[in-house]
Amino acid sequence: MNTLTDTTRTALTRLWLPVALVIAWWVSSAESTSLYFPPLATIVEVFVRDWFGPHFTADLLPSLGKFLIGFTLAAVLGITGGMLLGMNRYTRAAAEPIVLFFRSLPGPVLVPIGIMVIGIGAGMNIFIMVLGAVWPTLMNTIDGVRSLDLVQQDMSRSYRLTLTQRIRYVVLPNAGPQIFAGLRTTLQMSIILIVVSEMVASTNGIGFYVLYSQQTFAVAETWAGTILLGVLGYLASLLFIAVERRVLAWQAGITKE
């Protein structure tokens, strides 16, 4: 058996189930008159009408914009804060219980505070994302900075690396794998928070669209919005993994050797 047929076989075994599921959904719902399960054809039609139509600029772009700003802020704050707190034993120990508390707090419970402090709108959505999603990255960065190898510390000191050089060439890359593990959770948390905060405190965005559709019993719209959120979550995760592979290529190399 040559490798080509092998790959084709794997591809086929991987693809038959999703294809079958979609077809099954399509066929079984085709004649559906159920209020809750509209025909898939209708859902697709609504999806194309809305998301390749007016809602692309009205809801999708604002959501993406808020998400990008919020996630970037959470990541940057988490990493810099983690570096500052993690490099010193005492600040690290002092920060630990507080960080643990916020890390364990289900982020969405902060939404009511956000509404009171900032009100409804994009600023509040971003504020909630940062406040709720920064903690995993912060905590993992602290851990990553602490895990610096004793020999690497000696090396940096004996070759008289400056503080900036130590951070840039030694501490930060060493903490890289842990930082990325934290960022992954921050990413998932940001998505959750942007959706939740749009649901309850926004007048646009995908979250708003989905919850509004549900409340007005626009069932096909609810399905279409949910599918869009699923696809976006999937794409974000793919993008993240690609970036992680690139940045941490050295680590993959070590484990392979």
Binding site: D154, R157, S158, Y159, Q165, V170, N174, W250, I254, E257
Partner: protein, 286 residues
């Protein structure tokens, strides 16, 4: 880019193969009554009791001692990585309080001291960033890699290399830093016997080419006698200097010829006896 310390004739075109030439005249390194304890009160662990010795410019000095004799503690104190309890280390006339700019350390554990996220060239280049501009660094990295036999291997990552090659890279980083003294902490303890022999000869060649003063810590008696101009024998912990033995073997040394000399066997046996005594003494004491 700032240049720290006196500029010395170190470029390959000015290599001198005979005699001793250094930026510093007089004693290069003085270790005076070095004492180091860990902990305090009843729990005090006395590691170094009283260690005193000198290293002259251009000299190759090996420090040997039984295991547990505080060799690494001694080296970290000399390198300015930790403060002694009392006593002092004087390097080029100045008391060491922090790692000196003209001193480089080659660590025992190359797999940890080389940064796995950087290529070998970047690892060698890293400490030069505070000394030379970009073009100069590139040239010096190239030279350092050639002199350790890693020409053309700069773009590899450490983990793509064998242990011996990694330690060569660590040595290249040390000499690329242009130190007056190269401190080596059991650098070949983790490589296989064949590689070890190659690396010993490499260190001798490099020392010749760069005229670097070398302080080499090892537990291997043969290695110490083969490499050194002088062997300093340590006692067991709490450690002091037992003996200072001049190795008057001819240079250049050769793994077969030198080790076949009667004089080599004589010195080797002398060191061996001293270490055995130190060991039994230490075990009686504790």
């Amino acid at each position: 880019m700032t240049t720290t310390g006196p500029t010395t004739a170190r470029a390959p075109e000015t290599i001198t193969y005979t005699g001793i030439e250094s930026s510093y005249e007089g004693t290069m390194l003085e270790v005076r009554h070095l004492k180091k304890n860990y902990g305090s009160g009843e729990k005090t662990a006395r590691i170094l009791a009283d260690v005193t010795f000198d290293v002259k410019p251009g000299e190759f000095v090996c420090v040997v001692g039984p295991s547990g004799s505080g060799k690494t503690t001694l080296l970290r104190s000399i390198a300015g990585l930790q403060a002694p309890t009392s006593g002092e280390v004087i390097f080029e006339g100045e008391t060491v309080t922090e790692p000196p700019a003209k001193m480089a350390v080659v660590f025992q554990d190359y797999s940890r001291s080389l940064l796995p996220w950087m290529t070998v060239a970047a690892n060698v280049e890293l400490p030069m960033r505070n000394k030379f501009d970009k073009a100069e660094r590139a040239r010096r990295v190239e030279d350092a890699l050639i002199s350790v036999g890693l020409a053309g291997k700069g773009s590899l990552y450490p983990w793509q290399m064998s242990g011996g090659m990694q330690q060569r890279a660590a040595i290249a980083r040390g000499i690329g830093y242009q130190p007056d003294v190269l401190l080596m902490d059991e650098p070949f303890a983790a490589v296989d016997a064949q590689t070890r022999i190659e690396l010993e000869d490499l260190v001798l060649r490099i020392r010749q080419a760069y005229n670097t003063t070398v302080l080499f810590v090892t537990h291997d008696i043969d290695e110490a006698v083969y490499l050194a101009d002088r062997v300093i024998v340590l006692s067991g912990a709490p450690t002091s200097v037992t003996e200072n033995i001049v190795v008057d073997l001819p240079r250049p040394r050769d793994q077969i010829e030198t080790k076949a000399l009667p004089r080599y066997a004589q010195i080797r046996n002398q060191v061996f006896k001293l270490i055995q005594e130190a060991k039994s003494h230490a075990s009686v004491q504790s």
